[in-house]
C-alpha cells in the first residue's frame, strides 16, 4: 500500500515537474483591431499546443503612432515583456537596433521580394513579412458604365473622366465629387504622393544611391496636377481626410473614384453599404508618357523578434509558424489579409473568399517601398516633412517647385552629409 502511494506521489511530482522544465511562456504583441486579434490568437494557440508552450498576447494601441511610441519605449528600456512583435512596414529602420536578424534562421523562399527588401536593414532581415497591402483604385462601375467611360489607365484620364461624370450627373442634395484620397498631412499623404511620383517615373524621397531626391522637375509637374484636383474633382476637405474619411464619402455614394487599401473592398460591399455591388477595383493609374508605370506603395505588417527576449529560439519558431504559407492562407481566407507569398494569389479558395485579390499580383509587382530602411530612425521625421510640403502645395500655400526646394534643403539637414 505504501509503495502504491509512493508511486502515485512520484508520478504526480513527475507530471507537475516535467512541463515546468520545458514549458515556456512567450509574449506576442499583435494588433487587436477588428478580426486581427482573434486570428492572431488562433494562430499562436495552434503553435503553443503543438510545442507544449504558452503564448501570452499583449494588446497594442489601435493608432499607429501610439503603437510605435509604446513599442519604442518598451524596446528602448530593454524590456523582457515582449518576445515577438507585429510592426508596420515603415518601422523596420526605426526599430532595427532592437530586433534579431532572422535571415540565418528562417526560410524566405517564395516570399514577396519587395517586402523582404523593405525589411532588410544594413544587411539584416529584422522582420518577416506577415501580410501585405498596396494602394488600389476603387471606382463606381455603375457611373462609369452609364456615362460610357472605361476605368482610367492614366492619372490624366482619371482627371478627365472624373470631370466629365461630375458635370453630366444630375444635381443631387449632396454634391458628387470625382476623386477622394488621403490628403491630411500625415503618413497617408506621404503614401499617396509617393504613388503619384513613382507612377510618373519621378524619384521618391531618397534616390537609389541614398541622395535626397525630391527636387525633380517631374515631381513638381506631378504635384501641380494633384493641386489642380483640389476644389475641382476633389473636395477641399480631402486635405483633412485619412483612410476612413475618404471611405465615408465614397461609400455614401458621393465620389466616383477613391484611392484606398484592400481592406475597403469588404466594407464597400457589405449588405448595408449604399454602393454595394456597384464598385469596381483597378490598379492605380500610371502617368502619361514613356516613363509612366502603375505604381502602388506597399503597406502591410511584419513579425519581428526582440533582442531582449529570454527565449530567442522559440520566438523565432513562433514567427516561422505565424508567417508560414499555411497560416497566411488561413488568414487570407478568414480575414482577407493579403498574403506575402505571391503563389497564394492563384489559390482557388483564397480567390473565392477575396475576389479583389485577383488584382493584387500585378499591383504588388509594381510595388513601391517607402524609404524606411534608408532613412533609419529619421523615417518618421522625413515622412512628416514630405507630407507637410505636399500638403502646402495641395492647399495652395506654396508653389510645387518652391515647396520641393525647401523640402530638399530641410532633408539634407537631417541626413548626415546630405545623403543616407
Amino acid at each position: 500500500m505504501r509503495r502504491v502511494q509512493a508511486a502515485i506521489w512520484l508520478g504526480a511530482l513527475l507530471l507537475a515537474a516535467a512541463p515546468a522544465h520545458a514549458q515556456v511562456t512567450l509574449s506576442l504583441a499583435c494588433s487587436g483591431l477588428g478580426t486581427e486579434g482573434a486570428l492572431c490568437r488562433e494562430g499562436a494557440e495552434e503553435w503553443a499546443a503543438r510545442g507544449g508552450h504558452r503564448v501570452r498576447l499583449v494588446s497594442l494601441p489601435n493608432r499607429g503612432t501610439e503603437r510605435l511610441a509604446l513599442l519604442r519605449q518598451l524596446l528602448a528600456a530593454g524590456s523582457r515583456d515582449i518576445d515577438v512583435l507585429q510592426i508596420d512596414a515603415v518601422w523596420t529602420g526605426m526599430l532595427a537596433d532592437h530586433l534579431l536578424d532572422l535571415a540565418p534562421h528562417l526560410d524566405t523562399e517564395g516570399q514577396l521580394d519587395q517586402a523582404l527588401r523593405n525589411n532588410t536593414v544594413a544587411g539584416r532581415l529584422v522582420a518577416m513579412p506577415w501580410f501585405t497591402g498596396a494602394g488600389l483604385l476603387y471606382y463606381r462601375r455603375d457611373l462609369l458604365e452609364a456615362h460610357g467611360h472605361p476605368p482610367p489607365e492614366t492619372w490624366q484620364a482619371l482627371t478627365r473622366t472624373a470631370e466629365a461624370i461630375q458635370h453630366a450627373e444630375p444635381a443631387r442634395p449632396q454634391r458628387l465629387w470625382g476623386f477622394v484620397f488621403q490628403g491630411r498631412a500625415y503618413e497617408g499623404l506621404t503614401v499617396n504622393a509617393l504613388e503619384w511620383l513613382a507612377s510618373h517615373g519621378a524619384d521618391g524621397i531618397v534616390a537609389e544611391d541614398g541622395r535626397v531626391a525630391v527636387a525633380d522637375p517631374r515631381a513638381a509637374r506631378v504635384l501641380a496636377l494633384a493641386r489642380s484636383w483640389i476644389g475641382t474633382i476633389a473636395p477641399q476637405g480631402v486635405l483633412t481626410y485619412a483612410e476612413e474619411e475618404a471611405r465615408a464619402v465614397f461609400q455614401s455614394g458621393n465620389a466616383v473614384f477613391m484611392r484606398n487599401w484592400p481592406y475597403a473592398w469588404a466594407l464597400l460591399n457589405a449588405p448595408d453599404s449604399p454602393v454595394a455591388g456597384r464598385v469596381g477595383v483597378a490598379r492605380l493609374p500610371r502617368g502619361e508618357g514613356p516613363e509612366g508605370r502603375h505604381a502602388a506603395v506597399l503597406g502591410g505588417e511584419q513579425l519581428a523578434v526582440s533582442r531582449h527576449g529570454a527565449h530567442p529560439a522559440l520566438a523565432i519558431d513562433l514567427v516561422r509558424h505565424l508567417t508560414s504559407r499555411a497560416e497566411q492562407r488561413r488568414r487570407a481566407i478568414l480575414g482577407a489579409f493579403p498574403p506575402t507569398y505571391p503563389d497564394l494569389y492563384a489559390d482557388a479558395e483564397v480567390l473565392a473568399a477575396n475576389p479583389v485579390f485577383a488584382q493584387l499580383p500585378a499591383v504588388l509587382r509594381g510595388g513601391v517601398a517607402r524609404p524606411a530602411a534608408a532613412t533609419g530612425r529619421h523615417y518618421s521625421r522625413v515622412s512628416a516633412n514630405f507630407a507637410y510640403a505636399v500638403h502646402d502645395v495641395l492647399a495652395g500655400r506654396a508653389a510645387p517647385a518652391a515647396a520641393l526646394d525647401r523640402l530638399r534643403a530641410r532633408l539634407q539637414r537631417l541626413a548626415p552629409d546630405g545623403a543616407w
Binding site: 477641399q236 486635405l239 483633412t240 492647399a395 500655400r397
Partner: protein, 297 residues
C-alpha cells in the same frame, strides 16, 4: 517679540512648508531641471541613457527651423487674440450678470457649461460640427445663405486658426466672466452712488470708477488665461493635427519628442516654450504694474 521667538516662528513656518517644497521639487523642479539638461544633449528615444553633452547645438537647430518660428508666431497670435476677446467678452457678460436680473443664478450656472467640458472633448465636438460634408456649421451657413456651398474650414490655415481661436473664446469666456464678476461684486456701491449723484453717466462710471477698482483682479485673470493660452495643445492637435500651419509650440515640441523620438531637440523646444511663457508673463505683469505681493491698490 524677542529675536529668539521670531527665529522659532520662522523655523516652524519652514517645517510646515517642507512637505509642499518637497512635493514641488519632485513634480516640478526635477522634471524641469531634467528637461533643461536633456536639451543640451543628443538624447533620442532610440538609445536612452546614451546621451552626450552637445552644448547649444539643439538650440541652434531649433532657431534655424522655420517650423519652430512658425509655431512661436502661431502661439503668440492665438494667445493674444483669444485672451483679448475673452477679456472683453467676459467683462461684458460680467457687467450684465452684475445687474439685478431675474434668474441670474441660472444664467451663471448655464454660462459655465463650456468651461466644464474637457478641452479634448469640446475640440472633438467642434471638429464634427465643422466637418466639410456632414457638419452642422456648414449646413446652417448654407441654409442662411452666408456661403454658397460647404467649406472645409479646417483645411484652410487661416480659417482653421480663426476657428481654433473661436472655440477657445467659446470655452474660456466663462472663466474670465466669473473672475470679473467676483471683482465687480467687491466694488463698493456707495462710491458708484456718489459718482451718479455728482452727475457721471454710466460709461463714465465704468471707465473712471469700476475699471480702475477691478483692474488688479482683472490683471490676475488675464495673466492666468495668458499662461494657459501660451501652452495650448489640445485644440490644435485635435482640430488640425500636428501640421506646421497651425501647430503651437507645445504641439511642435511633442512632435519632436514623441513622434520623431528626438529627445534632445524636443527638450530644447520645451525649455524654449517655458522661457517664452516666463517672458510673456513678466511683460504683462510689468505692463500692468501688477504688485503680486499684495496691497494692490
Amino acid at each position: 517679540m524677542s529675536a529668539a521667538a521670531e527665529r522659532r516662528r520662522a523655523r516652524t513656518a519652514w517645517l510646515f512648508l517642507a512637505p509642499m517644497l518637497l512635493a514641488l521639487a519632485l513634480v516640478a523642479a526635477w522634471p524641469l531641471a531634467r528637461t533643461t539638461w536633456l536639451g543640451f544633449t543628443d538624447a533620442t528615444l532610440f538609445a536612452p541613457g546614451a546621451q552626450r553633452f552637445v552644448g547649444l547645438a539643439n538650440y541652434r537647430l531649433l532657431f534655424a527651423d522655420p517650423d519652430w518660428w512658425r509655431a512661436v508666431a502661431n502661439t503668440l497670435v492665438f494667445a493674444t487674440v483669444s485672451v483679448a476677446l475673452e477679456t472683453v467678452l467676459g467683462l461684458l457678460v460680467a457687467l450684465l450678470l452684475d445687474a439685478k436680473l431675474r434668474g441670474r443664478g441660472v444664467l451663471r450656472a448655464a454660462m459655465l457649461v463650456p468651461w466644464a467640458i474637457p478641452t479634448v472633448v469640446s475640440a472633438q465636438l467642434w471638429a464634427w460640427m465643422l466637418h466639410d460634408q456632414h457638419g452642422v456649421v456648414n449646413a446652417m451657413l448654407v441654409a442662411l445663405g452666408v456661403i454658397a456651398e460647404p467649406r472645409a474650414w479646417l483645411a484652410e490655415p487661416w480659417a482653421a486658426m480663426a476657428w481654433i481661436v473661436a472655440v477657445d473664446v467659446w470655452k474660456s469666456t466663462p472663466f474670465m466672466a466669473l473672475l470679473s464678476l467676483a471683482a465687480l461684486q467687491l466694488v463698493p456701491r456707495a462710491v458708484m452712488e456718489a459718482a451718479r449723484i455728482d452727475g457721471l453717466g454710466p460709461v463714465g462710471i465704468f471707465f473712471r470708477i469700476t475699471l480702475p477698482l477691478i483692474r488688479p483682479a482683472l490683471l490676475v485673470a488675464i495673466l492666468f488665461r495668458l499662461l494657459d493660452a501660451l501652452r495650448v495643445f489640445d485644440l490644435m492637435y485635435v482640430l488640425a493635427g500636428s501640421g506646421p500651419a497651425t501647430a503651437s509650440m507645445s504641439v511642435h515640441a511633442r512632435q519632436l519628442l514623441v513622434d520623431f523620438g528626438e529627445v534632445g531637440e524636443g527638450s530644447a523646444a520645451a525649455t524654449a516654450l517655458v522661457l517664452v511663457v516666463v517672458a510673456c508673463a513678466t511683460l504683462v505683469a510689468w505692463l500692468g504694474r501688477l504688485r503680486l505681493g499684495g496691497a494692490g491698490r
